[in-house]
């Protein structure tokens, strides 16, 4: 089945489900100037992310997934093509909020100040923003550590603060850049569950970048495979597993099948990117 057909089928499914397109990426391209010349990070990238879906993006390192995320968030300008977010910017909430890899929280702020940061920048009163922050700190189970500084926290705890902050901002779209990349396997699984339950409550769109295929399948409604640099969407795999995806209910066989599909798609790209000189 060709890529076109695959997309059409998903689109049909979505249309049936009544979902509209949230993020429309058309022919996106971006070029970086570095000390040693220019690098084409993205080229000809097309993608549609649907409203309220959990969309995962996997690809070999250096393929431009982080660049893409930053373009969607507005941190980076792009050179060619377009990214349209087909939603109205909400009045007092941001359109997007990003969860970063490590170092996403300020070492010089306490946990609660970190979580309340986005709210502070939008002018929410101190009382109100602490109230909201406490709520989300509670949801990620860090209430005891509200006044602690990041250097007192473990890696997993720090990431939970980053997630709490993004959710406290209550954006339309969550952008997550390998948030659990630097954590050990057990912490990762635990936090994945936490994230899924937070997302379930929020009912918003998520674009989640990761290099961990199993994680992508575990979390996502669809998994987009990005090609090696210059990056573009090579394939989209539907993850037709039922939610809620708690550990007991995960059908391991189906997951393995999906893993194979994605892996086959990605492995050629990984080889290509490993052969490349960075």
């Amino acid at each position: 089945m060709g890529e076109q057909d695959r997309r059409a089928r998903s689109a049909a499914d979505r249309a049936r489900a009544g979902s509209s397109v949230c993020i429309r990426v058309s022919d996106l391209g971006h070029c970086f100037e570095t000390g040693s010349g220019s690098v084409q990070a993205l080229e000809g990238m097309d993608l549609e992310v649907y409203d309220r879906e959990f969309f995962c993006l996997v690809g070999p390192s250096g393929c431009g997934k982080s660049t893409f995320l930053r373009i969607v968030s507005g941190l980076l300008d792009h050179d060619d093509g377009g990214v349209e977010i087909e939603k109205e910017t909400p009045a007092d909430r941001p359109m997007t909020s990003m969860v970063f890899q490590e170092h996403g929280i300020f070492p010089w702020k306490s946990v609660i100040d970190n979580v309340a940061f986005g709210l502070k920048m939008r002018g929410v009163s101190k009382e109100r923003r602490y109230e909201i922050a406490r709520e989300y700190i509670g949801k990620v189970d860090l209430s005891e550590f509200e006044s602690a500084y990041p250097h007192e926290l473990s890696g997993g705890m720090k990431q939970r603060v980053g997630i709490a902050r993004a959710f406290a901002n209550d954006p339309e779209i969550y952008l997550m850049d390998e948030p659990f990349g630097s954590l050990d396997a057990q912490t990762k699984e635990f936090l994945q569950d936490e994230l899924l339950s937070l997302w379930r409550d929020s009912k918003k769109t998520v674009v989640y970048v990761t290099h961990d295929i199993r994680e992508a399948i575990r979390l996502g409604d669809r998994v987009g495979v990005m090609g090696a640099r210059p990056g573009s969407i090579k394939q989209i795999v539907d993850v037709d597993l039922d939610r809620p995806r708690t550990r007991e209910r995960l059908p391991t066989e189906r997951i393995d099948e999906l893993y194979e599909t994605v892996w086959r798609s990605i492995s050629g790209e990984v080889e290509q990117s490993m052969g490349e000189r960075h």
Binding site: G35, G74, L75, P94
Partner: protein
């Protein structure tokens, strides 16, 4: 903004400053050349001075003193600093003494030393070395301490057993970057002290030359020597910077960052 454009802008702005200076002094006389000579006059005199062997003797006196002071201060500072960083007991004994002494500017001891030591030159060198030593020793100590203990575990896991091997494989490269800054500071401080003491009491050296030129009101001479001193300082600071870049190529240049708010 490419670096070529940057360099051009910088060159232009420097030229503008020099031109204004020249205008204010030589051309219009708003500032009298007796107080501040024109750049043309200064550069001419500087070149002349460099041609005179007596002036060059002053340069070499200062340069030698700085070099000798550094040759004393750097091994001493690094040695003591490393020892303190590696061994708690050494630190416990030595650190309090250094803490008490560090706030004292070594130059204050000059008159005392003059009473006691015969050779002016060696007094100058010694004071420069002391100043440089104090700046370097903390730097060396923290450079060692800051290497995460995790790295030690990693190294030991990978079979680096002996203390010496640990030092060589792990400590030295890791400590080197902070150390270079410390060494740079050490040399600059030594130079500063040496020039200062030469102001006060010497019969040779660039500092002596500047002070005498000022006393005799030969301002062009004074500025010329100041420029040479400046050049010496620049060579030390940026020379070591270059050395650092050669020897430690893994350090990245963080100069290209520019962050503007987007929302």
């Amino acid at each position: 903004m490419t670096t070529r454009l940057n360099r051009l802008r910088q060159a232009v702005s420097v030229l503008v400053v020099l031109a204004t200076w020249h205008l204010l002094t030589a051309v219009t006389g708003v500032i009298s050349t007796a107080a501040l000579p024109a750049p043309a006059g200064i550069s001419r005199r500087t070149v002349e001075l460099l041609g005179e062997s007596s002036f060059r003797a002053h340069i070499s006196a200062t340069a030698w003193r700085t070099l000798l002071a550094s040759l004393i201060a750097v091994p001493a500072g690094v040695g003591v600093g490393f020892a303190m960083g590696l061994n708690e007991r050494v630190k416990a004994v030595v650190a309090p003494v250094l803490y008490a002494l560090y706030p004292m500017p070594s130059i204050a001891l000059l008159p005392l030393l003059l009473l006691v030591i015969d050779s002016k030159s060696w007094t100058i060198i010694f004071l420069g070395a002391v100043g440089g030593f104090f700046v370097l020793v903390w730097n060396a100590m923290t450079a060692v301490e800051e290497i995460n203990s995790v790295y030690f575990d990693v190294a030991r896991d990978n079979g680096v057993e002996s203390r010496y091997a640990l030092f060589r494989e792990l400590l030295l490269p890791g400590a080197l970057s902070g150390l270079f800054t410390g060494i740079r500071l050490c040399l600059s401080t030594a130079l500063l002290i040496i020039i200062s003491v030469e102001f006060i009491t010497a019969d040779q050296g660039l500092g002596y030359f500047v002070w005498r030129a000022w006393g005799l009101y030969e301002l062009s001479d004074m500025y010329g020597a100041v420029i040479v001193i400046g050049a010496l300082g620049v060579v030390i600071t940026y020379g070591i910077g270059q050395l650092q870049r050669r020897l430690l190529p893994w350090q990245t240049d963080t100069d290209d960052r520019e962050f503007t708010s987007r929302r």
